[in-house]
Amino acid sequence: MPRFLAGALAHSTSHKTLDQTFRPVARKNKMLEIKNLRVSVLDIDDSEILKGINLTVKTGEVHAIMGPNGSGKSTLANVMMGRPDYVINEGDILYDGESIINLLPEKRAHFGMFLAFQYPAEIPGVRPWQFLKAALDAKADSRGEEKMSVRDFSKLFDEKVAAVGIDPQLVKRSLNEGFSGGEKKRNEMLQLEVLKPELAILDETDSGLDVDALRIVAQGVNSMRSPDRSFIIVTHYQRLLNYIKPDVVHILVKGRIVKTGGPELALEVEKDGYKQYASVGASA
């Protein structure tokens, strides 16, 4: 078996597996439920990073997951999207009541999940336009929907390029190659806005951004907030949450969610740091 598939298939627990014809129906009140999720790094012993995560995100909600470096925030974001570098030791991730942990990343994208990367890959020669069209076509194909015409897509693409404030010349070139940190994040927002996911996960999208770029990211998220769409915003700092007001804030420390609360929790972290939670994380 090729190594890159291992993560998606090598789970130790058995689950109801979704086949490739899985097509979620568009309806409200879908829920993402993470149940007692324990995750290790593939091929590394004693590497458990997530130690029993429980999380429920209802459609239309915006959740923030905050935590110090090394708490497992990025792992959680990547595992939700199906990154093949991890092994799920225990627990499950359900979307609309169905387990998704055996689904390939592309299948998760087809039913409406999206991950904005902390470090988007630089891909020489692949033009953002072509790539996004291919992604949109694949999604339409999988859902049995009609593909968008090149003309309509061009129009949509140009609109969104303007909206996220990327230099149009830049996106004619290679995907992310030669982009500054801010440009890469804007490009993630561009993809988010074109692909219009049901559940968007932003993995430290705010890192390395100046205030202007931060505003653009927030604007993108805020303009896309809707009763049919949920967001999980993974961040170290509170500052992005000045622009995006979350419904729920979770504090993740050492692989466990140690506290859940309202937006005020973010301000608490801002004021007192993560140290106050360290003992909770260790003893839980």
Partner: protein, 448 residues
């Protein structure tokens, strides 16, 4: 006292040389051929690799051991050629079948400033004083393959561009090996003579209609007069049992510009050896290329430029995509001679490795004898990492499509250089076909 080993495989070519029909060839050519044969018979096929920089990484033993017939000319139809290689009815096309010009298959419009046709005819009538050009860049030196080609030189193609002529329609020279069953040796020869301030687009392609192992040993000599502009493309798509050992020699005068892009995917052992001599101030050359290898193929790029005079510029940029158990060599060399102040030279070779069994030997080198120059070089062998693959898949692109997109993305920079529409379409189609094979033999793509 030890006896030197006799030159390898000379006997295999001797009877063909002795039976050459010399009637009607000019005396000067006869003399050049005799001398070339004499050189080849001293050298033999270069199978020695240790201490032999030119052939250090490529094993020619399979070629040296093989037998090839010489002299038969097969029947070829236009359809066979157009379905195999690049083609555009609008181009001026010179077709050379098994080393011999075919008037029937060629399509040449009367175009002011262009002389295109048989090299044998040019020899016979002395077109543009061909005697003063032929084998001045390749064929008299101590190199086995140019010697072998020159020993058998009797036909091929001649392309002359008159001074000040600006030709916008590409001239396509197709060297075809016909579909005769037996393995044969052919020695294609091309001579391009661009007059002062002229401009021309040349497509030089090598296609093989046979499925048996062929030996193609082409030599191309290109003369760029002052301020001439030559846009050259070289397409090598011979069958994967064949041997293609090509040599291109370019001489550039003041302010001339020579840009060449090579596309090499064919042959069991393929060699693209090109040298540009920047012999007067202000000359510029760009040597680019894409090579793709799979199975047991060996693809060898021997790229060199000599800056002989000041204010010249050279760029070497090649890309390789390697899969299976294939092997590629990039040997790039730039020599900046003592007089060549204000030279600018750069050199780059990037390789995408798709399998553990594939191997690249990249050897960029600069030899600089002037002190006021700007030179840079570099070579890399990389792979598609799993982060990149996951990134594409997370957007909904399935794994196989994502891999194809990534390989194609790597190649695109070179494919963009193929400007004539029909040529561009051809290299894109061929690349996409090749990607399927490369992927099938890939075992490390997206795993590291």
């Amino acid at each position: 006292m030890t006896l030197a080993a006799p030159p390898t495989s000379v006997d295999k070519y001797a009877s063909a040389f002795e039976s050459l029909d010399d009637s009607g060839i000019p005396a000067w050519l006869f003399a050049i051929r005799r001398q070339a044969w004499s050189n080849f018979s001293d050298l033999g096929i270069p199978i020695k690799r240790r201490g032999n920089e030119l052939w250090k990484y490529t094993n020619l033993r399979p070629l040296a051991d093989a037998d090839f017939e010489y002299g038969r000319i097969g029947l070829v139809s236009l359809d066979q050629i157009t379905s195999k290689g690049p083609w555009d009815n609008a181009w001026d096309t010179v077709v050379v079948v098994d080393g011999n010009f075919s008037a029937q298959l060629s399509s040449l419009k009367a175009r002011p400033g262009l002389t295109a046709g048989s090299l044998a005819d040019a020899f016979a009538v002395g077109t543009d004083n061909v005697e003063s050009l032929f084998a001045t860049l390749a064929g008299r030196e101590n190199y086995a393959f140019t010697a072998l080609n020159t020993a058998f030189a009797k036909d091929g193609a001649y392309i002359g561009i008159a001074a000040d002529a600006r030709l916008e329609t590409p001239v396509h020279v197709v060297f075809v090996s016909s579909d005769l069953a037996e393995g044969r040796a052919t020695y294609p020869r091309l001579l391009i003579n661009a007059g002062e301030n002229s401009s021309v687009i040349i497509v030089e392609s090598y296609i093989n209609l046979s499925e048996s192992p062929q030996l193609t040993v082409p030599v191309t000599e290109i003369f760029a007069s002052s301020a001439a502009r030559i846009r050259h493309y070289r397409i090598q798509i011979e069958n994967e049992k064949s041997f293609h050992i090509g040599t291109t020699r370019v001489h550039q005068k003041a302010d001339s510009s020579f840009t060449s892009t090579s596309f090499a995917t064919g042959a069991s052992i393929g060699r693209n050896d090109i040298h540009t001599q920047l012999d007067e101030p202000g000359a510029e050359c760009k040597l680019h290329g894409l090579y793709m290898t799979s199975g047991q193929q060996q693809q060898d790029q021997e790229i060199s430029t000599t800056h002989a005079k000041p204010n010249c510029t050279s760029h070497q940029f090649y890309k390789g995509i390697l899969s299976g158990k294939s092997h590629a060599v990039f040997s790039g060399r730039v020599v900046v001679e003592r007089d060549a102040q204000k030279s600018v030279a750069n050199q780059k070779d990037l390789n995408l490795m798709l399998s553990r069994g594939a191997r690249i030997d990249a050897k960029p080198s600069l030899q600089i004898f002037a002190d006021d120059v700007k030179c840079a070089h570099g070579a890399t062998a990389g792979h598609v990492d799993r982060d990149t693959l996951f990134y594409l898949r997370s957007r909904g692109v399935d794994e196989e499509t994502a891999k194809a997109i990534l390989i194609r993305g790597f190649a695109d920079e070179m494919l963009d250089e193929f400007e004539p529409a029909a040529l561009r379409e051809f290299v894109e189609r061929t690349t996409d076909d090749r990607i399927a094979t490369l992927l099938a033999e890939s075992d490390i793509l997206g795993t590291i």
